[in-house]
């Protein structure tokens, strides 16, 4: 069964990426986690994302394309990256989620991947 681990970070946690005093620890923790999860052979897909200020949001309002600077919502924690993994059940997915640095410096939402609708084939 496939799950997406949606890694959310606080701004303070994310800023560690470029703070020379702590960047080593920050990247070290992520490198260790990514190495372990890759080695387990369960990763379907995964990416880290550039910070929210690099985002551009688009929506259609009254048939017109409206493009905005920044992410969709201004929240305390924001999407920093994701992994899609293939594991037997929720508890296994939660165990991997808990190991990620995001669980300590933010939160990880675990969501099952939607199967194609029954008549799509």
């Amino acid at each position: 069964m496939q799950f997406m681990l949606i890694m959310n970070e606080t701004a303070a946690e994310r800023d560690k990426r470029n703070d020379p005093a702590v960047a080593g620890d920050y990247w070290g923790a992520w490198t260790a986690f990514v190495g372990e999860i890759q080695q387990a052979g369960i990763v379907v897909n995964g990416d880290g994302l550039q910070p929210p200020h690099t985002a551009t949001t688009v929506r259609i309002i009254d048939g017109k394309r409206v493009v905005q600077d920044g992410p969709f919502a201004d929240t305390k924690e924001q999407l920093g990256g994701y992994f899609t993994i293939d594991v037997p059940d929720l508890d296994t997915a939660l165990a991997w989620a808990a190991k990620s640095p995001a669980a300590s410096g933010g939160s990880v939402e675990v969501r099952p991947i939607m199967l194609p609708p029954p008549n799509a084939a």
Binding site: M1, P88, D89, L90, D91, T92, A95, P112, P118
Partner: protein
């Protein structure tokens, strides 16, 4: 008494068959649901398939005789139902299918059916399930209670409870909650969720208003059954033993809780001769065994507090010192509102009125606004110091009491408290 003989193919009365089916439904429901659902987590589909299997048994068994292993017959029939339901989907063959395929209805050894009920209980009480739905899920899936029976015990309409159960089962399937026992490191925490869900079925029980079940149907018997089941499946877990002992102590006092007219009788005024000695002895033995395992916890401490209460008539006096230290330990393990209020009642019993009041005052008003035992205890503390606010506290308590005989008792107390002519 006529009993249907297993395997006899002739002259079986419809009543014999119906009796056997009902008996199987009671004894094996949870076991069969657990095994069928473990396949892909689809509890709702398993329930449908199993009820079809029971209906098929009612049709077939009068003709064929009751099979040597009725559970295996039911399981095979239910599995075929499920397979028909899934025939348009490509479903991977899992270990559970292997077990189901190897099951043979003519095999009379019931031990060949693996017991997945413990895994099912951990699924029902999984932290991904809304807390107030864990108990109803367990009552339905393990014991086969319907939404109406569960709803009336939790003061929710059958329709609402039915919808909530459907949603909870959909969540189990879609969220991918696995039918596996938790790892050693999360076991204690998850077991606590399971035990708490069982205790919730037992009802709100607190000694200040011993047995205030709120007038709704009691699920005490069901809760004790579940606790016995978990003790048999996890014999080395002291907290599971503690929970069973706790409920047996409280259940033992049930016959003494109401007078002949149905009037409520509080713990200290109960006729101890009416307490069920068999249950008390069983509880004592279980608690002793739990204690020997050397891992103390919330349920063992609560059971120990009950043990002190039942010793009172034997020794002739309340062992307040023991009650106090047990409550202090309990607060270290589980600082719940209930434990604080109960602790205040013990301090009051020892004559430490100010200390009792301090404990009550330390609680958040929003946490206790609707907690009946808090207001009963608050009234007792204020009445002990002739505080004018005592009556207001009692009125809050009465307003929060659902059980009519407890209500009558509290109102009578209010009349006694009030000075001057009636």
């Amino acid at each position: 008494m006529t009993t249907a003989r297993a395997g006899s193919a002739t002259s079986l009365g419809k009543d014999d068959v119906a009796e056997t089916v009902v008996e199987r439904a009671r004894a094996s429901y949870g076991r069969l649901i657990a095994l069928l659902s473990a396949r892909d987590g689809d509890i709702a589909a398993s329930e449908d398939a199993l009820s079809e299997a029971f209906a098929a048994a009612l049709r077939a068994w009068p003709r064929t005789g009751i099979p040597a292993n009725p559970d295996a017959w039911l399981l095979t029939t239910a599995r075929n139902q499920l397979r028909n339901a899934y025939r348009h989907e490509t479903v991977k063959l899992k270990a559970i299918d292997e077990i189901l395929i190897r099951m043979d209805a003519s095999d009379a050894k019931p031990a060949t059916i693996p017991d997945m009920r413990l895994a099912l209980m951990f699924v029902c009480a999984h932290p991904a399930i809304q807390e107030d739905m864990r108990t109803p899920l367990m009552l339905q899936t393990i014991l086969g209670l319907d939404a109406g029976q569960i709803g009336s015990a939790f003061l929710v309409s059958p329709t609402t409870m039915g919808q909530r159960l459907v949603r909870a089962k959909a969540k189990i399937k879609l969220a991918g909650i696995g039918f596996a026992l938790p790892d050693r490191d999360v076991m204690a925490e998850r077991l606590d969720d399971v035990l708490s869900a069982i205790y919730a079925a037992f009802g709100t029980v607190w000694d200040g208003v011993d047995g205030d079940g709120g007038g709704q149907p009691s699920l005490a018997g069901e809760a004790i059954f579940l606790a016995r089941l978990i003790v048999s499946l996890l014999p080395g877990e002291p907290e599971a033993l503690g929970l069973l002992a706790l409920m047996l102590y409280i259940e033992a006092r049930r016959p003494a809780r109401a007078g002949p007219d149905g009037a409520f009788i509080p713990l200290r005024e109960q006729d101890a001769r009416l307490w069920r000695r068999d249950l008390i002895l069983e509880a004592e033995a279980i608690l002793t065994h739990a204690g020997a395992l050397g891992r103390v916890g919330r349920f063992q401490l609560e059971a120990a507090i009950q043990s002190v209460h039942v010793q009172t008539p034997v020794t002739g006096s309340v062992n307040w010192a023991a009650l106090r230290s047990l409550h202090e330990l309990l607060l270290q393990h589980r600082p719940s509102i209930g434990a604080f209020v109960s602790y205040a009642a013990v301090l009051l019993g020892m004559g430490l009125v100010e200390a009792a009041r301090e404990v009550l005052d330390s609680l958040e008003p929003s946490d206790v606004a609707h907690y009946q035992p808090y207001w009963v205890t608050r009234h007792a503390v204020l009445a002990a110091t002739q505080d004018g606010e005592a009556e207001a506290a009692l009125k809050r308590a009465v307003g929060l009491t659902r059980n009519t005989s407890v209500c009558a008792y509290l109102l009578a107390q209010a009349r006694r408290d009030r000075p001057g002519p009636p």
